[in-house]
Amino acid sequence: MEYSPPPFFKTGPTPLARLLIFAALSLAFLVADVRFNYLDSLRQVAAVVVYPLQRIAAAPASIARRIGDFFTTHSSLREDNARLRRENFENAALLLQLRALQAENWQLRELLGARKRLDIELAAAEVLYAARDPFSRKLVIDRGSQQGVQAGQPVVDDRGLVGQVTRAYPWLAEVTLVTDKGQFVPVQNVRNGLRAVLSGTGSDGALELRFIPLNADFRNGDVLVTSGIDGVYPPGLPVARVAQVEHGADQIFARITCAPLAGVANHTHLLVVRGSRELPQRPVDEKKKARGKKPRKG
C-alpha cells in the first residue's frame, strides 16, 4: 500500500498528466492539419477572433506610411506627375494597339473555333505584414474571401508573379511567395518555348529549375513566363530571369538558378488575379475517386 498525506488543496490532475493531455491534443491537431487538412473551419473561426487584433497591430505601420505620403514634397509630386503623364501618354498608344490586337485575336480564335483566352480581372490589395513564420515565405494581405479572394489565385505586382493565395480568411488572405520552398510554378522560356517547373528554394531572391537535362537550351538572362498549362496561373505572366546555369560533367541534371522578376520581398501593394478560365474537366483518377480526395491546387 502506498501512503500519502491527505491533500490540503485540491489541485486536480498532476502537471505531468495535464501535460500529456495537452501534448496529445496538440499532436492530434498537428497531424490533422499536416496530413489531412481537417482543421480549416477551426482556423477560419479563430482567424475571425484574431482579426481585430491583427488590424490594430498593423495600424501603426500603415498610419506611418500614410503620414509619410502626406509629407511628400511639392517638387517630387510635380516630378512624379510629369513622369506619370508621359508614361500614361505612351501607354495609351500601346493600349490602343493592344485592344486592336485583342479584338483581332478574338476574331481569329472564333474563326478557328478555339477556346477563348481568359480576361484577367485584377483586385488591388495592401500587404499588412510578412508572416512571422521563419520556415516559410508568406505575406498577409488585406483582402479576403468577402472581397472574392480565394485560395489558388495568383498574386502579381507591376513586374511579374509574386506568389499565390494559399489561404483565404474572411477579410485577410495568406499569400505564399514563389520563393517559398514548397511553391512550384509551371513556366515557359520566352526565347524558345521550353517548358519547365520552377520551384522556390526557401531563400529570398532565388528560384530553381530542377531536373532539367544537361542539353536543355537555357541560357543566362532568359526570361521565364507562366505557361498556363496548369489552369492556375494565366499564361504569359513574367516570373523569373535565369541567373546562372551550371553544367557539371559529373551531374545528370543542369543546375539552373533564377532570380524572381517581381520584387518578391519588398511590397506594400499587390494585385490579386481573379477570374477563372473554363478548363475542360480533369480526368478523374480512379483511385482518388474511390478515396474522394480533391486534387491539390498549385
Partner: protein, 172 residues
C-alpha cells in the same frame, strides 16, 4: 547577510485574472506587430515570455489551458501548422509550473539563465516539429530572438510587479 544570488521575498497583492488576461493580450499584440527583415529575427516571442512568467509567478492561476489557447491563437495568426505553438507552449507551461519554486529562488542573472534555457527548449520544440513536417533549418539566427527574450525577462518582471505592489500603509 543576504546572498545576492537569491531573490528577496516580497509580498504582493493578489493577482486578478483580468490583469493576467490583459498582459497576455498585450503580449499577443506585440507579437502581431508587422515585424519584418532583421527585426523579425530579433523579435522575442512575447507570448512565450509572458506565459512562462505567469506559470512561474502564479502557477495556480495560469496553466496549461491558457498556454495552449495562446499557442493556438499564435498558430492561426502566423499561419503556421495548427498545434506547433500550442504544443511548445504546453511544454513550456509544464516546465514553468514544475520549476517555479526553484526559478523564483534565484535572482538576477541566475534566474535569466534558467529562463533562457526554458525558452530555448520552446524554440527547439517548434524547430523539431517543422523539420519533421519537411521544412529547412532557417539558420542559427533563428535563436537570436530567444536571447533577446531572455534579456527582456528582468524588465518584464519589474513591469508586471508594479501594479501588484501594495500601496503605502492604507490605514494612514
Amino acid at each position: 547577510m543576504a546572498d545576492m544570488r537569491f531573490a528577496p521575498q516580497e509580498i504582493l497583492l493578489p493577482v486578478r485574472a483580468g490583469f493576467i488576461a490583459l498582459t497576455l493580450i498585450a503580449a499577443l499584440m506585440l507579437n502581431l506587430l508587422p515585424w519584418s527583415g532583421a527585426w523579425l529575427w530579433l523579435k522575442p516571442d512575447f507570448v512565450a515570455l509572458v506565459v512562462l512568467y505567469w506559470c512561474i509567478e502564479q502557477p495556480r492561476k495560469v496553466g496549461f489551458v491558457s498556454a495552449w489557447m495562446m499557442g493556438l491563437i499564435m498558430d492561426v495568426a502566423d499561419g503556421t501548422l495548427l498545434g506547433q505553438h500550442a504544443l511548445a507552449y504546453s511544454i513550456l507551461a509544464y516546465a514553468g509550473i514544475v520549476l517555479h519554486r526553484r526559478v523564483r529562488m534565484f535572482a538576477g542573472t541566475s534566474q535569466v539563465v534558467h529562463v533562457l534555457l526554458l525558452l530555448m527548449m520552446n524554440d527547439l520544440i517548434v524547430l523539431a516539429i517543422r523539420l519533421a513536417a519537411g521544412a529547412d533549418f532557417p539558420g542559427l539566427q533563428y535563436f537570436t530572438g530567444t536571447f533577446v527574450a531572455a534579456a527582456f525577462w528582468l524588465p518584464l518582471g519589474a513591469l508586471l510587479k508594479l501594479p501588484l505592489r501594495p500601496r503605502a500603509d492604507p490605514d494612514l
